[in-house]
Symmetry: D2
């Protein structure tokens, strides 16, 4: 019998999550192909990743709405998904609806609180919240007879968490939880803690820095759990990471790299709050100095423009200096549907985290660097160079496992 | 005593050539740094490439004009080079002026003939023209006491040469020359033939396909001469080769890639002729299918817009399909000074060809793939991947030669 | 009782026509508002134009397909129209289907012939074809009890018709028809001739120059019929006509204006043929010299890019010279749904042509200049200036007719 | 004998001012033509405006530097002006250098103070500063034998001045000066007050709102002095005012209009300070609701990017809704040399203010609306419509003055 694997989405009613769910179901029912998923390319031929029909969805969200209602609303606003694809999924979606639970809005800042429809959790001890998430994960895993359960954070960006000594040392972290040192945790910290302790691989697809700090990585190693983050690389930063190495390799000096992003989905609304935007800009901004070896003048603007819905639009102006001090420029305009770009990557990451867990890997997964704006534990930021890490992970696997038991 | 190396530029009065000459002199006299030259980055630390003050310039051109006059005219039209850089080079330039000889306009098509101010050569036997170029190269080399002489084709793009059996086999080629089979040769063929027979490394920086066909590569091997081409990758195609692998790696299907180029220099004027443009478009166009593995809808327009002078401007519109069949787009606008981008690469190639020759390499130099739009003998078209070939060539060299005699 | 007015669309199965039909029905049934129609703005307050529920649709097309099938196909390819708008129109559309007749493909060139599914008409005398169209128009008008019938050419662009003496003089024109001088006519000529003789106002929304030549205008005057053309101004040219006067007024010298258009609908496919493209480029190109008073370097490219469907995308690069000879640039990128921009203008023109006819106007309608790329009889090409002609027509009307009989 | 007219530039060492001075001298000496000046087009044929050789330059600046030094520095950074134009102006510039005096930095905010090299004036009574400016203006006018003296504010943007009752009533204003109510004045207020009392026409080419408030307009009327402002319309806003009416006229609903400006000159540096930027954004932002009749989502970003020098670059993304609710977009990219665009307008305004003064006009000059982002006393913001006001002013003049005494 085939294994059954759970995918637990934090921010399960968000547009990346619903797109990933619809997409996985549509692929399973042969209503769509798997374009946009890297794990479905021939790079992975012969690698025994789980397939879409082995997935069971589960999730948490701070908005108490019905999944199908959210989907309807989303499609109403922007008709990106063909209604013909969704109709046959009606009963699947109805079932999944039962597995989306009220989430945590603990210390998430004003912008997320404003969206949140669940009751205030600030009075509940951190440990108690963590325990309830742990028991939720365990219950889902057992009741559904799952072989593994992957947790992936697709929730809105939290404000930056100021890191303290307790984030560097696991025993101090446990102590901080026990003494309910609230300021040291955000919702994403508690989810990550609970997931890892429940032996669930954890992926941070958001810029929120409250999840995968050093003490948490220690915990992951201890529990034999693979983790990775931060911040899925889907649009402007993806292009940046493909273009910046070109300037470096050609010895063309980037004078200024100015990026203007406009977007209109919920993610954009949350990023309209300066605290949350700061988190995002930090992961987007680190890249250039690391690729170029120096810091050009650079700024990143993110503006909320509701009419755009999910169609993130970005203009980047790159001013550079060439031979004999002459100035030239490259501009690009990116018009990408954020959720459509992110969702297949989220499904990829579920498959690759499950694979790594099954193979006994734990801690960071640097071979997944190309998926993230700020890949933990990886200094390389050039896209092709990062992608080579994935290719080499796969070929190493092939070299050692001519045949491996399929996850049936 | 330091070695002296000649750089022979075909199209010596063209803007790439004059920019390379001014640049090399300015670097030699510390009036400019070597930004834009890859060989001056730390990738080449410890690699004993020749320096700018070892170079002696030499060249051929079909226009019989004075070098300094051409420079003045160019600067008058477009003030890209700081006049303060040029003033102190007056006497250097005056000397180089004596070493620019009337070139070959043999079978180059209407557009180049229209520029040409030298007498018609169509009645002179091919062999005789080749001999005269050979003796010119030899004379310069000997009279100036050069240790090596690198020939680099920077001339205007010729119409496509239809390849025949004689281009595939060296003995047939020799026979074709002896029987004066004019249609089998263009100016670039004769230059390449003469250069290689004179043991001068030969670089084809143009799209002209008449120079480095199989029989010529055979000749290069026979004479122990390294050669490489075709078509320097300086602008739109450079960006294309950096971006296309991103779509491939992310499993995003490129539906259409439409490129519009406008430029106003002499190169643009020649490309305004359909025959010559066809050569260019062919080298620019081959890239996408090779990187992507399929052929998206694609077109490339090159229009001559005199007001732009050397500021090549390109708009590329890339339409692509992602998850669930959704359509998105990426556009880029490139505004680059063609000669400023090409000249430092030409100087790089002179240095690297001399280095390869000194090390006893002959035939194609695949490690130089990243310099060319249509790199001979290399199937890889992704820029980062091509650049890795250069990095690996350097590190192989370092691994085997901890210390090597400097070219003094 | 309210008057009933017919709208006869040439190219009735084309995307402008189906969009206009769906739009008019949706407005009539309050499923959509009239955004994009100028006649629904407060400029026309108190002007007794006909309303959408007075319209009856009728049409000709060279493709023998079912209207609803074409609509389905179109929506399948590009989901621009909300399916919720179309569902309630099912029975309306079913009825209109009966009034779309096989059209004329007489001397329309290869590109249109390739689309055409009707039998070859080249052997039928011109007079006979004209008579059959006339009787079709009359029959529809009478059988439906219409008060007026407006014919508007929305068909694909024909190749340029070389004008001859018979196009300048009505008696020569009649003679050319009688002597079946085929080369003097294209389909659009015959439609225009038949429409005008049937006392139907005629609008040429296409660039085809075979319809409204001087002799035809004479015919229009004779029959008391208002006519206007050529070529609906919907996208790149619209923006051009708004921007070019700015350069003129500011005494900034346009050096070059380069326009690149890519589009993927049927119109694009027909324009992919050089003959048809030439017609289009001619109407697009005339504008700059007329606005600026001199001819800058200018080129217009139109490429067929199927993946874009109806989303016409254009990049215009405007290079200009300012104070002290400095060069600067303005670029724009237009992404507009061609049919969505054209359809409301077509409905406007039906309303305004009916209004003019009712008021006893005949011949050209210069107040409609702002609707056309090459407005007949109007030298003004600046958009604001043209629009002022419309505003002044309306205010003249208001000044003289404080109250006028509504078209009930 | 020809009249002599003074042009007094506030911010005389700024780049607009030095460009205007160099330009006027170059035109006078036939080294350049008057491209970019509207008053040199045939619209003004037969209108007896003063010519460039009648102008005498004079100015104030808060930076105590030598004019020629500033020019050298500017040209060093950006080689926009041909050095061949400047060389022959050496002695002219040397003379003008004597007429640039230390200016006022009174209550100008931190950003301007940081540039200022003159001593602190906050302790000096407002009336005393005003008197000293008045006597400076008078002295220059008399000592140079001028027939008129035009004052034009080209200085950096000040923070917004909060308007109080004393700005609405001239007697209250005089009282506020006498009682040294410092918070009610900025440098620009004092210059305007002094200019008007000295019977010098005053033009506010900056967004600073501290100059032309109602009480000041009263003063202008009283002294028979023409004035106009605010904020020269040179780049992004110019294009905006040409494009926005098109959307209005076509009944296309602008959903969002997002503008991103990057620039690198001193103006940009001052605008990098939030207080000063606020002034600018206010004048740029008022336009859309006035043209469209509703307020679309709109934001304007201005970022300081030093590498761009004077080359202001702006990306505007316009999202709009058309027929049947479909969404489309127009983007434009403006790359304009700010000073090159502004300087000829400044010279135009000097000529037109002198002309108005000579003709006995006083108070606002609404016919100059097209020159300003926020034209005082004019509700019309469409560019073509504003330009028509100028054309009509000229034709009214022509109609009444078939011949008028030339200003000789």
């Amino acid at each position: 019998m085939k294994k059954k694997i759970g995918a637990c989405f934090l921010g399960a009613l968000g547009s990346i999550s619903i797109t990933a769910i619809i997409g996985a179901l549509a692929i399973k029912r042969s209503l769509a192909d798997s374009i946009g998923m890297i794990t479905s390319t021939d790079l992975f031929d012969g690698v025994d990743l789980i397939s879409m029909d082995q997935l069971e969805f589960f999730g948490f969200d701070v908005r108490e709405q019905k999944l199908r209602h959210v989907i309807e609303e989303t499609l109403d606003q922007c008709r990106y998904i063909d209604p013909e694809i969704i109709k046959p999924l009606e009963s699947d979606l109805k079932e999944i609806e039962h597995f989306i639970y009220p989430g945590i809005n603990f210390n998430c800042g004003q912008a997320i609180n404003a969206l949140s429809s669940i009751s205030d959790q600030s009075e509940i001890p951190v440990r108690k919240i963590a325990n309830s998430i742990e028991s939720g994960l365990r219950h889902f895993k057992e009741s559904r007879g799952l072989d593994d359960l992957i947790v992936i954070n697709l929730a809105s960006t939290e404000p930056i968490l100021e890191l303290q000594p307790c984030h560097d040392d696991l025993s101090l972290l446990e102590h901080a939880i026990d003494s309910n040192l609230c300021g040291a945790f955000r919702a994403s910290s508690i989810y990550a803690y609970a997931a890892i302790r429940s032996k669930c691989p954890y992926i941070n697809f958001t810029p929120s820095n409250g999840a995968l700090f050093p003490a948490m990585l220690e915990l992951a190693h201890e529990h034999g759990v693979p983790v990775m983050g931060n911040d899925g690389k889907t649009g402007e930063t993806l292009v940046k990471s493909a273009l910046a190495p070109m300037f470096k390799s050609r010895n063309l000096q980037v004078l200024s790299w100015e990026g203007f992003n406009i977007l209109g989905n919920l993610d954009g609304k949350v990023l309209d709050h300066p605290d949350n935007r700061e988190s995002k800009i930090r992961t987007k901004d680190a890249l250039l100095p690391k690729i170029l070896g120096y810091s050009p003048h650079s700024s990143i603007q993110i503006n909320y423009v509701p009419s755009l819905d999910d169609m993130k639009t970005a203009w980047d102006f790159i001013h550079f200096k060439g031979f004999l001090g002459t100035k030239m420029s490259l501009q690009f305009i990116w018009q990408g549907l954020d959720s459509m770009l992110a969702a297949p990557l989220a499904l990829d990451l579920v498959r690759l985290a499950e694979f790594a867990h099954r193979r006994g890997e734990s801690g960071l997964m640097p071979h997944l660097a190309s998926y993230f704006k700020a890949p933990l534990g990886v200094e390389e930021h050039g896209f092709s160079e990062q992608f080579a890490l994935l290719a080499s992970y796969v070929s190493d696997y092939r070299a050692t496992h001519n045949s491996v038991g399929a996850p049936s």
